[in-house]
């Protein structure tokens, strides 16, 4: 039996290595400085993903600026005060929202923002990503805060600290490393999202910094390159994927090592 299960385990890991290996093999030859800074161009004229990288960073930055603080606040509430029915409901709903497909958030934001404004925009894309981040950050924050020993809370309470100061002065600093880890993982997760951006941020062939205009992103750019009929663009899809996957796995592995040293 052990042979079978071990084969399954190593088989799954092999799939991972094959995928990563293939991305590197296919992508590495097309990655160049020009590729990293150029905007997309018609077939045969080169072009790159510079605007998509910047776009992803802007979308992500905006989404994080909303999603992380709100998520941390929700998680803090759940951990410190969430024992009542309200807390239980919020926890359950947050858990369940993590399982809701990301494209649904895109559809929702489309109806809420894009239709009303009449155009695709960075703002809409970031809003969709922020909605995806909130429950993820909330749940990891809660787990991390719960790891802070209760004796530490009691120590502060016994000195005459009000509840909110205990949370702000003692609990949150003690859990900070873990919360940052969770936030980073959430960032990595939405960095890889495509579906919610398709009809919110839409995509763009230009460098752009305006919040009320369509915005390029790495993932949507990969999608467009991938489903095109041109060999040359396929090569670009692989190269862009190599960049994306390096960022995402880099964050994941980094976080893994940082947390292992901590606990």
């Amino acid at each position: 039996m052990t042979v079978t299960t071990a084969a399954c385990a190593f088989g799954v890991v092999a799939v991972l290595l094959v995928i990563l290996g293939f991305i590197t093999y296919q992508g590495i030859s097309s990655v160049s400085w020009e590729f990293l800074v150029d905007t997309p161009k018609p077939v045969g004229e080169g072009g790159g993903i510079g605007n998509a990288i910047v776009g992803s960073l802007i979308l992500l930055g905006l989404a994080s600026a909303v999603g992380i603080p709100v998520g941390v606040a929700v998680g803090t509430y759940l951990a410190e005060l969430g024992g009542n029915w309200f807390g239980k409901t919020v926890r359950f709903v947050a858990d369940t929202m993590i399982g809701v497909p990301s494209i649904v958030f895109g559809v929702f934001i489309y109806g809420l923002i894009v239709v009303r404004q009449g155009y695709f925009s960075t703002l809409a894309g970031s809003a969709a990503l922020a909605l995806i981040m909130i429950p993820i950050v909330a749940r990891t924050t809660e787990e991390m805060i719960k790891l802070v020993p209760n004796t530490m809370r009691e120590g502060a309470l016994a000195l005459g600290a009000p509840q909110w100061r205990v949370t702000v002065d003692i609990v949150l600093p003690a859990a900070m490393a873990g919360i940052a880890t969770g936030a980073m993982l959430a960032v990595a997760r939405v960095l890889g999202e495509t579906a919610p951006l398709l009809f919110t941020a839409f995509g763009s062939r230009f460098y752009n910094i305006y919040l009320d205009e369509p915005m390029a992103s790495l993932t949507v750019q990969i999608y467009h390159y991938a489903i095109s009929p041109f060999e040359e663009w396929h090569a670009k899809a692989w190269a862009a994927t190599l960049v994306l996957i390096t960022l995402i796995l880099g964050i994941n592995i980094l976080v893994r090592f940082v947390t292992r040293r901590r606990f």
Partner: protein
């Protein structure tokens, strides 16, 4: 000398389970009272009713009165935060904050805004550390993490932290149970020393410790106060048969 704490007819419940039955007892000013009894007898629970630490447990419920300096701490208008400032607590396992040694002691001073300026703050921290007999050991590394010192030193740091906010009462929940004999001895000496300025209630499972440090001793069993007498009498000729059996080691 008058009574610092007076408890009358106190009942305590965790949800439906009753943990304390009709406890009445008084803690005199500037004396040490020890609570002894087998584990699970309610002595720690009772200790935590004296600074309303049990409020943090959602299903906990109290009836009866606890007065400190004549005022009922369970009255609706009681400010729990200022109550806890006046009633310091030291826990079974030392629980320093993830901050420097200095900041650990300074924390309570800061949140209660006791200090006037930075120099005053430093002075108060030093005094608290001296009172906790820790100053000489840590004065050169005040800015290092509190986790870098030994377990016994951490516990005295927690005592210093409690002293820094100038309470009148100090509650100690088995403060030496996790320490080695030498560290324990230091804590015990400290308790006797602190008696000059504070009323102290100490929970202990170590009867010799109770005999060494306390003026009065209360014996709890199964949530009931069996006997409360001067320590001398408790350990020589207790009134109750149960107390005698426990002290002579027939059970527990």
């Amino acid at each position: 000398m008058g009574n610092k704490i007076e408890v009358s007819n106190l009942n305590f419940y965790y949800g439906k389970a009753q943990a304390l039955y009709d406890i009445s007892l008084a803690v005199p000013e500037r004396e040490v009272v020890a609570f002894i009894g087998p584990s699970g007898c309610g002595k720690s629970t009772f200790l935590r009713t004296l600074n309303r630490m049990n409020d943090t447990i959602p299903s906990a419920r109290v009836d009866g009165t606890v007065t400190i300096d004549g005022r009922n701490i369970y009255a609706p208008d009681t400010d729990v935060v200022s109550l806890r400032r006046r009633v310091g607590m030291v826990f079974q396992k030392s629980n320093p904050f993830p901050k420097s040694i200095f900041e650990n002691v300074a924390y309570g001073i800061r949140i209660n805004r006791i200090h006037q300026n930075k120099a005053d703050l430093a002075e108060r921290v030093e005094k608290a550390l001296r009172d906790a007999a820790l100053w000489d050991e840590v004065k050169d590394r005040l800015n290092e993490s509190a986790y870098g010192i030994s377990g016994g030193q951490q516990q005295r740091l927690c005592i210093a932290r409690a002293l820094a906010v100038q309470p009148d009462i100090i509650l100690m929940d088995e403060p030496a149970s996790a320490l080695d004999p030498i560290a324990t001895q230091k804590i015990e000496e400290l308790v006797v020393e602190l008696k000059n300025n504070y009323s102290i209630v100490i929970v202990t499972h170590n009867m010799q410790q109770a005999a060494r440090v306390s003026d009065k001793t209360a014996f709890f069993m199964l949530g009931k106060l069996i006997e409360y007498n001067s320590t001398q009498k408790m350990f020589t000729s207790p009134d109750e048969k149960l107390t005698e059996d426990y002290i002579t080691g027939r059970f527990g």
